[in-house]
Every structure is written in C-alpha cells, then in structure tokens.
Amino acid sequence: MKINWKTTLRYGLIGGVSALYFSMIGMVELFAGRNLIGTTVNMGHLLLYGGMLAAGLLAARAHHQGKLAQHAVIGLVAGLSAAIPTALLVILHEFIPMQDVFVSVNNALIRFLTFERGLPGLLQFFLASGLLGLLGGLFDGIPTDYRRAVGTGLAGVAIVAVFSDLVTQVLTNLFGRASVNIFFVSKALKPVIALVLLLAIAAFVFMRDRRKANAPAAVAAAPLDKRAALRKQVILFVIIGALLAIAPWILGSFLSQVLFEVGRFVLLGLGLNIVVGYAGLLDLGYVAFFAFGAYTMGLLTTTTNLNLGGGVFNFWLALPIAVLVSVLFGVLLGFPVLSLRGDYLAIVTLGFGEIIRILALSDWLKPIMGGAQGVLFIPTPEIFGIVFDSPESMYYLVLAAALVAAFVSIRLRDSRLGRQWMAMREDEDVAEAMGINTVQTKLLAFAIGAGFSGLGGAIFAARLGNIFPHSFNLLISINALSLIIVGGLGSIPGVIVGAIALVGLPELLREFQEYRLLIYGILLIVMMLNRPEGFLPAEVFKRELHAGEITEPAEVE
C-alpha cells in the first residue's frame, strides 16, 4: 500500500492546530495543574498528547489497511506534524512576548511544553509527539481484539483518574479515609495502581471477547433462553434499584447534590422529550414551565409576606397545584402556536420563555412575584417527621419524581397517544388524514411536558429555599434540549445518559468550569458528526412477532 502523505499531513495539522488552540486559550496550562497518575502524567498531557495520539490513529485509519510498519510511519509523521504549530508558538514566544494579547501564552505554558528546558526542550516535545502519534498509528494496526482490550483499559484508567473526586469519595464512604491512600496520591492515581487497573481491565475485556467468540452455540439456543433472559433483566433491575436507593450513602453530601441536579434535569428532559422527542414540537421556551412550577411552590409556601396561600399550604399540598398550574400554562401557551411548525415554533416559544422570565423580573409584578429579589424562605418539605433538608433526602424526592415521570412517559409512549405524537412528528398532514385531532394531540404534549417540568421546578424551589428570576434563563432550555439530543431523541434511557453526561460530569469537573461550554460545544459537534441519532437512540419495538415466533416468508402473489 502506498502512503498518502497529504492525508497524513492533514490529520497531523488538524491535531496540531487543535493543540495550538488549546494551548493559546490556557486550557493546556490549567489542565496541567491536575495530576492524573503520580506526578508524571497530568491532564495537560492527556489533552495535548491525547490529541497527538488521535492524529496518528485517525491518519492511519484513513489509510484503511497496510502493514504494521506503515501504520507506525504514518502515525509518526502525523504526530510530528501535529507538534509543529505549537513548536512555532514556543519559538515565537522566545522572541516576541505575546502575553499582552494572548494572556494564556505565558512562561508557565512554555515551561510545560518544553519540559522546563527552554528551546532545547522542543526536541523532547517533538519526540513525545512523534512517539504518541506512532503509538496511535500502531494502535490502529493491531488486531481488533487486542485493540478493544487496550483501548478499553486506557479509557478506564483515564476515566478513573479524571474523575478521581468521585472515586475517592466513594472509597471514603465505603471503606474509610485510609483506603483512598492505598490507591491515590492526593488526587492522582498511584502509577502502580494505574498499571494494574489498565492490565486488569484489558485482560477482562480480552477474556470476555474470547469467550463470546468461542460460544456461537449460545446464539442458536436463544429462544430457549427466554426465561433466562427475563431473569437476567429482573436481576439487572434489582441491582440498579438497589444502587439508586443507596447512592446517597455511598456518594456523600456533595455528590448527592450533583445527583439531585442530574435528577432535576432528568425530569426536565423527560418532559421536553415528550414535546420534542415524541411530538416533534421544537420548544425553546421550555424553562417557562419550570419557572411556573417553582414560583407556584414558592408563592404558596413562602414564609415572607409574598405568600399567596394564606398559610394553609405545605410542600405536599402545593406540589400538585404547582404541577397543575404548569399544565394549565402549557395548554395556554400551546394555543397560539398550534399552527406553527419547525423553526417558527422554536422562535415563538423562545420568545415565550423570555417573556416569562422578564415578567418575573419586572417591577410591575414585583408586589406578587418579588421582582429581582425573588421569593425567599421557601420551607423544606416535611412528612411524618422526616425533614427533607439535606441533599441526600432531596435526592430521594427528585428520584421518586423522575421515576414517576419515566413511568408515565413509557406508558404513554406505548399507547395510542404515543403513536399519535410520533405520527404527528413524522408528518403532521398525514397524521391528520389518519383521523388524528392534531390540536388535541399537540396540546396534550405541551401540557404533559409542562407538567413534568413544573414538578421539577416545584422540587427545585423547595430544595433551594429561594428562587430568583435569573435561575430561569434560556440556558436551562438549551441544556435540557442538548441533553435529550445527546442522549437520543425520543429515548428515555437517552435522557438519563444525557443528563449524566451534560449535567453530572461538568459538576464533577468544577475546576475546569471556564472551559465547560467549549468542551460542551466540541462534544456536541463530534456527537452530531459521528452519532447523529444520539448515544442511546430510541429503539424500534418488536410488535408483529413475539419473541421466538417463526417468520414465514411473505407470499408473492
């Protein structure tokens, strides 16, 4: 096979420009401050040299096949060329200080890039880049089963190291503080542990794949195993249930708070999933219903003089009313947009969302809604002497709400109403020609979606104790929309995965919050290019044939 140098260089330079960009915006330097494995590997390395590895890998992959040596050469060249832009930056910095314009191009960055050796250190930089590129190229060339094993192992180590906060927290809660010190040095994995982890994961994956490959008989026996499959499902269910139930004990207060946030967005996502995922109505003002729920809860239960409930309402009485108010506004705001489709609907709902926020902020409604000062002193829920005042207890509340919402979602999805929504999403005119009353169907989608959102808002208000108009900005709508797109439109497991990925993980990486939106954006672009249908796309249910039924071929007339 001939090596295509142009392609190789292109991938190298794409990697190089990315590395340059990440360096110049200060991401590399900030990441370098966080050790991953001992003091030798930090997150800066992961970002910078991970890019070189990817460049080598993608360049080699673009060549489809070839000898292992060729893979190595391609990877090496890609890696070396990926180092060029950043190297030029280092050299340029030597002669022209750029810090006045590019704040992040400073000595700390240069020291990191040159391994603290000044210009001669560039040689080492090239060496490292070339080596990583070469490894990337080789990685593409090795047989699939080895590649899977090594890849999973590396990814596993990287995840444990990057999210060490989570891991150390769990270890502390389960086995005490001392156990953490066996595996971690401050926040970084000990090198030996990292190596053991890598080998363990790789070996596990390798063995599992081997066993699967050697057991083709299992496939043929599948129909017989229906009960076994069911049992497996039940066991999985019980395990997940148990994990969800004990999560706060394992995770502790801070992570329970993160889980609460995830749960809140799962609720929002489930509601929006009905509106956008099932019914195909692109709603960008979804946060409005969240605000209705929160404000209803706030105004009915607050102990300040804004209270509208006359003191009779506690959390549990106000909760259904908050949901009801949201549903009502869902229908009310649904009416004017009934005849709008696609982009037009998106723009109008966007406007609605903003109007609600601005009304809450306005002086005009200040006597009722509190204006910019918001609604303060919203009491925490209490039942049978149990006070929901901690993140752990609120987690259970939001978990229960999310479970209810998921249950209702699933049941409706599999019913006539679910089919009505999907038919409307696919083709509104034809849906109407099938006898579907699209007005009613649309309003139901808006109403139920708004109800879930209002439920989330009410719990949110009780958790925080104070609500302010700026908590209900456009970003919440965008977040909810992004998470259902990332997870997979119309997919309920997708909503959960999306919420964990876009709400949970950023909370765990608070140190790097400045770059949160950048990473978010990159993630979305990569996602849309590679998996436009989302992480866990909605599955097609087998309806015609029951499992195990034999398919007779269609008769040809």
Partner: protein
C-alpha cells in the same frame, strides 16, 4: 345504486389559478372509478378538497348524504374516507405495524390517560388493535415485515403498506392517488388485481387517480377526465378511449385524428 360521494360544482382557486373549476362528480357505492387527466389538471387538488385538506371556494361535497366540504381532515377521515398519496407518505421512522396502528386511530376509543394504569379496557383494545394490524399486514402480503421501519421497506411494499394503513380505519371510500406510480408492469398488474380484490372482498368504494391507462381502462367502471380543472369527459372506459376531446387534452390538437388513445 346509491351514490356514496357526490361533488357538486366544486371550485378551488389558488390566487388567480383555478385549480378545480365547477367540477361535478358522482361516485356510485361499491364501484371503482378513476379520475384522469394531464399533469396539473387538478386531480390531486380535488382529492385534497374531498379529504378536507383544502377548503373549497364554492360548491359542496356530500358523503353518505352528509355535507363534508370544509370539515377538518380528521373529521372527514372518521366519517369513513381514507386516502393514499401520490408520493408515498408513510410515517417513515415508525415500523410498518406501527403505521397500521396509527391508521386504526379513529376506531380506538379508550381515554388516553388509561394507558398510564393500563386499564382492562385499554389492554383489550390494544390487543385487538395489534391483532387487526397483523391481519392487515397479512392481507397486503407484508407478513414478516411488520417490525421493519417503514423507510427501509422496498418501494412496492411501501405502496402496499400505505394502502393497509388507509384500510385500517375501516373506510367506506378509499382514495388512491396514483397507486402504481413508479412500478414495473409486473408490479402494476399485481396492484391492479389487488385493488379489484379490495372492492370485491371488502366492499369498499374506490376512487383512483391514475396515469397508467392499462390500469384505468382495466378496472374502472367509470372514468372522469379533468383538464385545466374542468371536467371534459365522463363515461365508461370505452367511451373515454374514443372521445376526441380527451385525446386532444393528452396529445394536443391535431393528434386526435391520427392516434389512438390508450397509449401514452
């Protein structure tokens, strides 16, 4: 035999363009009739007027001795008219059987929220609907393809699925818009027999728009010819074939004397 559908002096204009002009049509119950005419003659516009997708400007449409012009599409469908489309319009990201289930919508009666607690009524209705959908799949010869996404079905199967979906609402009148468009002669023959079978077996009245003259002349009992929105001829296939105005509309002035109709 009674007329199941009567259109009286129907006129539909788009701005200055008169798409359907003072059109009158009677469809006898349990018949197969065709509307033909050159491209842009207003055939599909007429279908859209019947199903309520377009509001008519003048005239009335009577179905089963009930005025249905300018009613909402879903209301018209529930009264017993269903249709297929010239360019197949299935719910492409839903499976074949789900498409048919959607088609059954007008027949399902349970309250939507019953699905949440799965009331007995809901479960029974869903089971019956599923059974009926399977039956319809078999009826159009698509058994085994029910769980395939509609967009992944082969062309001919999509056409038949669209008909199955239209049949699912138990219509009394079925409007078929070019059911054999894009089919080879073999498939066309199959479809023709299938349409006849529909009428004979299920007793459904069929009105079709068709360009393939072999289909039109082969199965229609009545043919109506539209040109520039106006009816220019009506009668049995034989009468239409020898009508000079029809030949003129299709082939232009002067051709009428030289060529025989029936060849495209």
């Amino acid at each position: 035999m009674a007329n199941i559908l009567t259109a009286r002096n129907v006129t539909k204009t788009f701005g200055g363009l008169v798409a359907v002009n003072d059109f009158t049509l009677d469809i006898a119950e349990n018949s197969i009739s065709s509307v033909i005419g050159p491209n842009g003659a207003g055939k599909t516009t007429f279908f859209n007027c019947v199903t309520g997708f377009y509001k008519v400007d003048e005239g009335e449409i009577i179905f089963n001795s009930e005025q249905i012009q300018n009613r909402r599409t879903d209301v018209v469908t529930r009264k017993g008219i269903s249709r297929t489309y010239q360019n197949i319009r299935l719910f492409s990201n839903m499976s074949a059987i789900e498409n048919i289930l959607v088609g059954q919508h007008p027949r399902l009666k349970t309250f939507w929220a019953e699905a949440v607690w799965k009331s007995k009524r809901f479960r029974n209705e869903e089971l019956t609907a599923l059974e009926e959908a399977r039956r319809l799949l078999r009826f159009v010869g698509l058994q085994g393809m029910g769980d395939t996404l509609a967009r992944n079905l082969p062309y001919g199967a999509q056409r038949r699925l669209e008909i199955a979906r239209a049949l699912a609402s138990l219509p009394k009148l079925l409007l078929l818009d070019e059911p054999t468009a894009g089919m080879n002669p073999n498939e066309t023959g199959e479809m023709t027999r299938f349409i006849q079978h529909l009428r004979d077996e299920l007793g459904i009245t069929i009105l079709l728009i068709e360009h393939d003259m072999r289909v039109v002349m082969g199965i229609s009992e009545q043919v109506t010819v539209l040109d520039y929105g106006s009816k220019i001829a009506e009668g049995s296939p034989k009468e239409i074939q020898s009508n000079p105005r029809v030949i003129e509309a299709y082939l232009g002035r002067g051709a009428a004397s030289g060529l025989k109709a029936g060849k495209r």
